[in-house]
Symmetry: C2
Subunit: 257 residues, 2 copies
């Protein structure tokens, strides 16, 4: 199983939109995909069509229960569509940070949970909140790859160096290298600032940038309001094409499983 964390402490850069649509496109290409929603806002859960309270357990129960092993991931996983499953979240997850403070190995809780499902899936895609706290660290200690969505503009590029530093620290602790690539999102080809940002990112990261670019496309926003990935809601849209391109590029990457 390839485990991919989608992270960036900058808010609103397209993390959740990327998780939902990359996962759905990989499932469309006959991969078995698990989405894990590690954001207390629960937007990946909402964007995949689950309203409030439509489910009994969440990732919070798995993380805080993982000491007693009563609850199995299978009890929490929800089937969204063929080849696409979800471990949902809810606002309770914001209580995880204080609850886990001072607990040993608290950054490995998600990695422990995922060990028991790794035979069942080809991919696990993890959505993260807009901050680098215990929830994002759990994603970084569970993943083998990371995608950093970047909208255009100075605010988006500014935090990148700090984020790469954080990933380096995790790499050193885990004694491995998380394959990390930036993904340009909400790209508006009509504006100069978009190309300036692309140039800045390539300068900072060299080859660690996906060739696929996600253009600004209102269909992506509309799809969320209908609780469906864009390849179901608007299969002929630019957004659907862009995320299918991303999925194709992710599949071509040579990474260790």
């Amino acid at each position: 199983m390839r485990t991919i964390a989608v992270i960036n402490q900058k808010g609103g850069c397209g993390k959740t939109t990327t998780v939902i649509n990359l996962a759905a496109c990989l499932a469309r290409k006959n991969k078995k995909v698990l989405v894990v929603d590690m954001d207390p806002q629960a937007h990946a859960t909402l964007g995949l069509g689950l309203g409030l309270g439509g489910y009994e357990y969440t990732v919070y129960d798995l993380l805080l229960d993982s000491g007693r092993k009563e609850l199995q991931p299978g009890d929490v996983v929800i089937e969204i569509s063929r080849g696409l499953d979800l471990i949902p979240s809810d606002v309770m997850l914001s209580a995880a940070e204080p609850a886990l403070l001072g607990r040993d190995h608290r950054e490995y809780l998600l990695a422990d949970v995922l060990k028991s499902v790794e035979q069942r899936y080809d991919f696990c895609i993890i959505d993260c909140p807009p901050n680098i706290g215990i929830l994002t660290f759990n994603a970084l200690f569970a993943c083998s790859e990371a995608i950093i969505p970047l909208e255009t503009g100075l605010f988006a590029i500014h935090g990148l160096a700090k984020l790469m530093e954080t990933i380096e620290i995790v790499n050193a602790k885990r004694n491995l290298t998380i394959t990390t690539n930036a993904l340009l999102t909400m790209f508006d080809r009509r504006t100069r600032i978009a190309y300036e940002s692309l140039h800045e990112v390539q300068k900072h990261l060299g080859g660690q940038v996906f060739t696929a670019v996600i253009n600004f496309n209102v269909r992506l926003k509309e799809a969320v309001s209908h609780g469906r990935p864009v390849i179901d809601y608007a299969p002929d849209s630019i957004g659907a094409r862009d995320y299918l391109d991303l999925a194709a590029e992710v599949l071509k990457m040579k990474v260790k499983k």
Copy 2:
């Protein structure tokens, strides 16, 4: 002094853009304005032209020092332009949450700091990070008003009820009512989803929505990259007009000082 917190746990909805440009427009209308950057990303600081390390003290020093009273806000305030001052932030601020855990009255630290400057300014505008933690609570316990920037779409509207609940809890604890209004940002008049969102917000909040709407305008993004508010960078732009409209509406509000 009117103290306005700009808050929303949803990332990327225009909090920082609103703080910088509302503050600059109020200063243009001859008000004395203090911006407080309570976000460890320090984007309000960056967007007002201060690069990394161009300043010695930050809001972190004031908050954690406020017990010993050695440091005065005057030592930390930076003059940006006529009538516009800033208390900057940096990434150290992300250490505030663990450092303040368990400390009594930790949510009142900012309120204490601002008491000593309230004679000098007409307005204090506070930028907050995209989560509801100790930093946002400090802003909520120091403010008399709150602005909730909302981009359009389901993700933006979804967290609104929870945010209003949080403000109600603070109102009960402080035994007063924070005057709260939503502000529509990144509004794209060409899309149906924008008007659907406007309708949703008015349904949820009734009259607690600014008449002023901030349209999607790339000049706002470009202004940040030049470290200047949009009324300096592009005075004839839609972004400048919209934030001047917002400033005029804020000035007309009947609120207790």
